[in-house]
Symmetry: none
Subunit: 236 residues, 2 copies
DNA sequence: ACCTATTTGTGCGTATGTATC
DNA sequence: AGATACATACGCACAAATAGG
């Protein structure tokens, strides 16, 4: 009597080895024939195990080429703090940002409401991409109240970091006030930026971040590539 | 060269016949041997097709018994006083729940890990729909540790409320330990339940809830219709 | 441009185990 | 207890896609 099927044991072994880093994302696993020899089983048994991994999205097979470890979804915590860079560094990925557009203009209705601005006030708009290991993860557009942050765009252009630009303006810390998450199909523009196909699922987050005094500092809309990101909601 | 694989053609044929009503929910399909004779293929080829249906949740096989059509879109047991207190909805809608399936079985690896169970322990499985104003919002599957909640399914069936069933087991309060949110395309099953088209974006949440002592009580996966739901993440 | 070895995909046949009826 | 039905596993063969020389 076997408590667990052979193929299940092999699948578990491969999962452990992938988790342990024996095979990294993008690496090719040994061929089915090799694995069959190694485990002393028939190739079909290995295939059953690999099918289990593939169904869970952990590997991807290409006929004629091999079976490759899939890139893990970046886990993006939605805690109190907003720290894109630290989040990704913690998961072993190298984050980067590419700014696509910066400008100062009058706030739209939604922006003014979210930032508690009166009508006709200016906001700094920053649009760009967030990348992990060079792969686009998300496209964002954020609005900051210009009256409170007169030199924000200059500082941002110089440092390339939102956090540093805010620090330069005397805002040492800012936290998430609210975030709404929804799913939608990517339009052509978002798809182009994220390198996915139009209609592919994306996560939309709409967030308001405030400083230590509760003053709204940032109103941001972010679209995450659905196949590359998981948002984690964790109690603080 | 076959444009489509034999097993894929057989899977498509079976899907059509199920959709056409040749086999209704709960009905048993012809045995693998019969299907193999009918299609003039090896039994393994039929199994490949059936595995495809099973993976999509359209059929469910029971060793020794047969393969049965799943997805009773029709009604199922239902308690009346359903208390679905979720802060996910804009006010003014009347929430309800419809339970599709309840059973007790051995925990899968993921379930055991999330609930901190040792191998081979039983879990109660509850599947169902969450609705607002009669419109399906989400389809969920939750696992509860059977050892700690021996009478849970009875209580749930009697009360129709997860909260009340947990209260009856002495668990006055349980809180979210972690929730992960991702976006994906709806498969045929989820699309059918949610009344959306296959491939439409859905929100997947994977949550672990714990009791006051930190004991994992519920491991739940929920798929929300992307165009009907926004999840709000608010600091406590 | 072509060939070849490698690798995954499909399909068949057989045998045995195990759960259900 | 026996028959039925699904689950697992092995072996063989060929097709199709890929990669490299």
């Amino acid at each position: 009597m076997t408590a667990t099927a052979l193929w299940a044991a092999i699948a578990a072994t491969l999962r452990n080895e992938i988790a342990a880093g024996a095979y990294g994302p993008g690496d090719r696993l040994p061929s089915e024939a090799e694995l069959a020899r190694r485990f002393g089983v028939n190739r079909h048994t290995v295939r059953h195990a690999l099918a289990d991994l593939a169904q869970a999205g952990e590997v991807r097979s290409r006929r004629g080429a091999g079976v490759f470890v899939a890139a893990p979804k970046a886990d993006y915590p939605l805690g109190k703090r907003v720290r894109f860079t630290q989040n990704l560094l913690a998961s072993g990925q190298t984050p980067s940002r590419r700014f696509l557009r910066m400008e100062t203009r009058k706030a739209t209705g939604a922006e003014a409401q979210a930032l508690a601005l009166s009508d006709g006030q200016d906001v700094h708009i920053v649009e760009g991409l967030s990348l992990a290991d060079g792969e686009p993860l998300a496209v964002f557009r954020s609005a900051f109240p210009a009256a409170y942050l007169p030199r924000f765009l200059n500082d941002l252009a110089n440092t390339g970091s939102v956090s540093e630009a805010l620090t330069a303006a005397g805002i040492a810390d800012y936290v998430r006030q609210s975030t709404r998450v929804s799913a939608e199909a990517a339009d052509a523009i978002a798809a182009g930026h994220l390198g996915i196909s139009t209609g592919a699922p994306v996560l939309r987050t709409v967030a308001v971040n405030v400083d230590a005094q509760g003053m709204p500092i940032e109103f941001g809309v972010t679209l995450f590539a659905g196949d590359r990101v998981t948002l984690s909601v964790l109690p603080d």
